[in-house]
């Protein structure tokens, strides 16, 4: 190795760590100011308090927003995972006409700006006279969550050994029985991972919810409406802290399930899966 490449790793390492600090800088501030007693979000910190969390507990409008978001998130997770599973299984197992075109259309929301999706759905709904409600938000969320569900489930279905299926048929199982007793248990961790990820996306999604929400608002839309009031900021920081903790918890759980799925199918656990691959 030449001299340059011996010096290079250190610099690269330092840069990578510095970049991670930049990446985490805003996120770290959330808990810092959520527990800070000052009403102004600025240094120096003035003292420890849990007052802002108490404020959250007492805000009724927030509670209904949380309930709405949970309803939207759970429904979205179930529907998009179901639809994603159909597509992922079809993509992994079968060859069929215009496969690339169909897959392209289904995966399109991944690259489409969310404002386009939001505006398009809004225009149609208004034209058809459909009142905006939590269900219209769910409709939009399912659309953008399907590609993520497919990406996660595709790797689960693709690594499925087809001979297991054939063995099951040979032993007299029906198609449904094979699915229930062989395929489903093998891809179950992938399914759970998909449910958790799509739920997290829906929980945090703002743009589509902003366009399609009616009088019942979701959590991010509620937060948006509160950002205008400086006095509300500390409690928003507290709320953000809770959401951050919840998201990270869900992600770690999802990752754990994904690794278990990989291990169960005898794959390299270290291999990046899902949307990374």
């Amino acid at each position: 190795m030449s001299r340059i490449s011996r010096i290079l790793p250190n610099w690269l390492g330092i840069y990578a760590v510095a970049f991670m600090l930049f990446l985490y800088a805003p996120v770290v501030l959330l808990p810092l100011f959520a527990f800070n007693s000052s009403t102004i979000i600025a240094f120096p910190l003035t003292g420890y308090t849990t007052e802002w969390f108490t404020v959250l507990w007492e805000t009724e409008a927030l509670h209904s927003a949380v309930r709405n978001s949970l309803f939207v998130g759970i429904t979205t997770a179930v529907l998009s995972t179901l639809l994603g599973a159909c597509a992922a299984r079809a993509m992994a197992r079968y060859r069929f006409p215009v496969k690339r075109g169909i897959v392209g259309l289904v995966m399109l929301p991944l690259v489409l700006p969310e404002i386009i999706v939001g505006v398009a759905l809004l225009v149609v709904l208004v034209q058809l006279g459909v009142p905006l409600s939590l269900w219209t938000v769910i409709g939009g969320h399912v659309l953008i969550c399907i590609p993520f569900a497919i990406a996660i489930l595709n790797s689960a279905f693709a690594s499925l050994d087809q001979s297991l299926e054939e063995a099951s048929f040979d032993l007299g199982e029906s198609r449904w029985g094979t699915f229930r007793r062989i395929i489903l248990p093998l891809v179950m961790p992938g399914v759970i991972s998909s449910l958790l990820i799509t739920f997290t996306i829906s929980l945090d999604e703002f743009i589509i919810a902003f366009f399609l929400t009616g009088t019942d608002v979701t959590l991010p839309v509620y937060i948006w409406s509160q950002l205008r009031f400086p006095a509300k900021l500390p409690s928003i920081m507290a709320l953000g802290t809770i959401m951050l903790a919840l998201s990270v918890l869900l992600l770690i759980t999802a990752e754990w399930f994904r690794r278990r799925a990989a291990r169960r199918q005898g794959l390299d656990v270290q291999a990046p899966g899902g949307f990374v691959g």
Binding site: I4, S5, L8, P9, L12, Y15, A16, F19, M20, L23, Y24, P26, V27, L29, L30, F33, I40, I41, A42, F43, P44, L83, C86, A87, R89, A90, R93, Y94, F96, P97, L105, V106, L108, V111, L112, P113, E114, I115, I116, V119, A120, L121, V123, V124, Q127, G140, L143, I146, D204, F206, I207, F211, L227, G240, M243, L244, S247, V248, P272, V276
Partner: protein, 286 residues
């Protein structure tokens, strides 16, 4: 085309998802295109075919300014994000030997936290009485708050570059991982120094990832309206803000549709150009 049993089964299985995408995506997009050729008549829509909306979208100075600014900001954001992300992806792929997954996991976590809150946090950081100013003043580096931090195009670039970093790192990382390490040894054995080796072997082979990262960042940033609204001030507003206003308060959905289609066409054209140029650059070694 003849449809065999396998093809039928595959189509049947994917049909629920396909129908959903057709009804909820393809049809609404077609509707937006149609809408852009209609006009708003106060409360109802005039459905005579017209190019007026496009004429307005392309000739009115305000839309021209917003469109140009959106494009410039998005391109700058993309370049900055990809340049900042490349060394990180390179580090994870080439230097990290164990715990690669942990690094990747750490890179993706911030992406999963609320986008709205992340943008808002930058506003809190960069504000007049914000975190950065108060910290700098507390440490005695500055006497009065810096005002150039927030409410301009730079703040938009910084915030977006931060928000989209994971999306740039991951595709570049995947491309770097695919590079056959023996090619690098071969280049070295044939007398290439580290820089030449990087420029002639690593970079061209990483190009598909760089192109993917560029497009993944470029396309959605044009359509972002939260970041300009929260940290951009009046000089940082982008075309998406105008689309949102037209569809919402201004109640002129057809013009909003024409603006949306126009910006998508512009970004789409740019994307195709980038893709073609990138493929040529990446293909030179083959």
């Amino acid at each position: 085309m003849r449809l065999d049993a396998e093809g039928r089964r595959g189509l049947t299985l994917i049909s629920p998802t396909l129908i959903y995408a057709l009804v909820m995506l393809a049809a609404p997009l077609a509707m937006v295109v149609t809408f852009s050729f209609w006009t708003q008549n106060y409360l109802d829509i005039d459905t005579t075919f017209t190019l007026d909306n496009y004429h307005e979208a392309w000739t009115q100075p305000i839309y021209q300014t917003l469109m140009a600014r959106s494009l410039i900001i998005s391109v700058v954001v993309t370049v900055v994000t990809v340049l900042l992300a490349f060394p990180v992806a390179y580090y994870i792929s080439f230097r990290v030997t164990r715990r690669k997954t942990l690094w990747l996991f750490l890179v993706t976590i911030p992406f999963w936290t609320s986008y709205l809150l992340r943008v808002f946090l930058w506003k809190v950081i960069l504000g007049y009485n914000g975190v950065l100013n108060s910290a700098l003043m507390g440490m005695g580096f500055i006497d009065e708050p810096l005002t150039f931090l927030l409410y301009n195009a730079n703040a938009v670039v910084l915030t977006l570059a931060h928000a989209w970093a994971p999306f740039a790192i991951l595709p570049i990382f995947v491309a770097l991982e695919k590079i056959d390490r023996s090619l690098l040894e071969a280049a070295e054995d044939l007398g290439d120094g580290p820089w030449r080796r990087f420029r002639r072997v690593t970079l061209p082979l990483a190009m598909p990832g760089v192109i993917a990262a560029t497009l993944i960042v470029l396309i959605p940033t044009v359509g972002d309206f939260i970041t300009p609204r929260l940290v951009g001030g009046t000089d940082g507003l982008m075309i998406a803000n105008m689309i949102q206003i037209q569809v919402g308060r201004a109640n002129n959905a057809p013009l909003g549709a024409a603006l949306a289609i126009s910006s998508m066409v512009v970004v789409g054209t740019l994307s195709v150009l980038i893709f073609l140029v990138g493929r040529r650059f990446g293909g030179r070694t083959r």
